[in-house]
Every structure is written in structure tokens, then in C-alpha cells.
């Protein structure tokens, strides 16, 4: 289920900026351990972000997104108190959803 995401969302001049910091290994599947065994790929591959219940961003990721991924984007509209909800799914089928309120 992973560790909680850090989500910050702030509305200013009619634009809401959403910043998300996820906690995930994002293992590429290219690296080998000390015994030379390939460490299997393990990465977040789908993200859905909603503002006030409406999907504003859907992302698909490969393993070349950095460990503990950061994602920032802006949406027109939104106001203080609106709910931001972010869900990720990784390639093992694990998933996590976190929420935050726009400030």
C-alpha cells in the first residue's frame, strides 16, 4: 500500500497549482544486486489526479521516472477547500489514494 503521498494544492488568481510527492522505489529492472541477479522492475505506472471530483490529469509512467516521484501541474479554476485526490497504481498492482484540500 506504500507510504502516504505529500500533496500540496493552492489556489491563486483562478489557477490551482497541485504538487505531489509520492513515496516509491521506482526500480527500473535494469539494475543488478551484489550477486548479479537483475532486480525486477517495480514502478508506479498510472496516476490519476482529481480536483473537486473531476479528473484533471491522468499520467502513464515508465521506470525512468525518479525514485520518490514528484509531479506538479496547474489547473484552471478550483478554490480553497476543494478536494484534491491522487491515486497511483504500480506494476505489481499495488495502489494508494491520498487526499488534500486546496488552500
Amino acid at each position: 500500500m506504500g507510504n502516504p503521498m505529500k500533496i500540496r494544492a493552492s489556489a491563486k488568481d483562478g489557477v490551482t497549482e497541485i504538487k505531489i510527492l509520492m513515496s516509491h522505489e521506482m526500480e527500473t529492472g535494469q539494475r543488478k544486486d551484489a550477486n548479479g541477479t537483475v532486480i525486477p522492475a517495480w514502478f508506479i505506472n498510472e496516476i490519476t489526479a482529481k480536483l473537486d471530483g473531476k479528473t484533471v490529469m491522468q499520467a502513464q509512467w515508465g521506470p525512468s521516472i525518479s525514485k520518490n516521484p514528484y509531479l506538479a501541474f496547474k489547473v484552471k479554476g478550483g478554490k480553497a477547500g476543494d478536494k484534491v485526490s491522487v491515486t497511483w497504481v504500480d506494476n505489481r498492482g499495488d495502489t494508494r489514494t491520498d487526499e488534500a484540500a486546496v488552500t
Binding site: R31, N45, E46, T55, M57, Q58, Q60, F73, R92
Partner: protein, 152 residues
Amino acid sequence: MTQAVMERRQVLTFLGALAAAGFVVPQAAFANWDKPAFDAKTMDDALKALGAGAPANSGDVQIVASDIAENGAVVPVQAISRLPNTERIAILVEKNPNMLAAAFDMAPDTIPEVTARIKMGQTSNVMVLVKADGKFYAAAKEIKVTLGGCGG
């Protein structure tokens, strides 16, 4: 929350049962994930898998990143499109084992500016591909990497 957890469990149990029965391989659970595009090992294949063909270079597509990345494991990149009706922004790294790093699909109200951090194995061109009004546009920028991000 409790209910959401229960639903997730039920879904996972259901998928697990299907997998155990041999009906689906685990990857099939991610219906939306564009496996051919992410598996592509050449730029041409990646662009083809994304349906982009040969995108036109456009000054309305921008990559904001430093010229030199000290640590290839964490390279901050901002992709910006000034094109109206931008539907999708993709980030591709030419010299990574798999070119495609990320694809972002925007809702109409979402401003086409995304920031993410990518891994780069070595100095490479980074391409931002934008789909706007059904057409593809691109811009590229070379980012020098002094310490690779894939060797661990």
C-alpha cells in the same frame, strides 16, 4: 476509507483469482498502460507506438531543465505547451534503454505545464512530445549528465 479498502481487496482478490486460473497475466490488469510505447527501444518505435509518426518541431513546445544534470537519477524537467487544445504531453529520453519516460493526459481545464523528475543513464537529448488538436509537435533539448542514473 474502510469501504474503499474493502473494495480494493475484493478487486485484488478477483484479479488474483483470474490470474491463478490462468485467465490473465498480471500486466493485463493495467488496461490503460501503453505497454508497446513504454517497451519501445528506439525513438521511431516509441513515436509510432504513441501514434505520433514524425512530429513537427514547434517553438510552442518548451522544455525547462538545466543544461547539466549532476545526478542522472534525479533530473527535474518541466514540459510546457503553448498550443491550444493540448491533450497530451509525453517526455522521452533518447538514450535511455526505453525512450518513453512519461505521458500526461490533460483535461481541458488543465494548463499544459507539467513538472516531473526523470532518470537519465547518460547525456542525451530529451524530447517533449505534445498532442494538440490531434496533431503532434515536439521540441528537444540536450541535457548533459555527469553521473548516470541507471547503474545504481
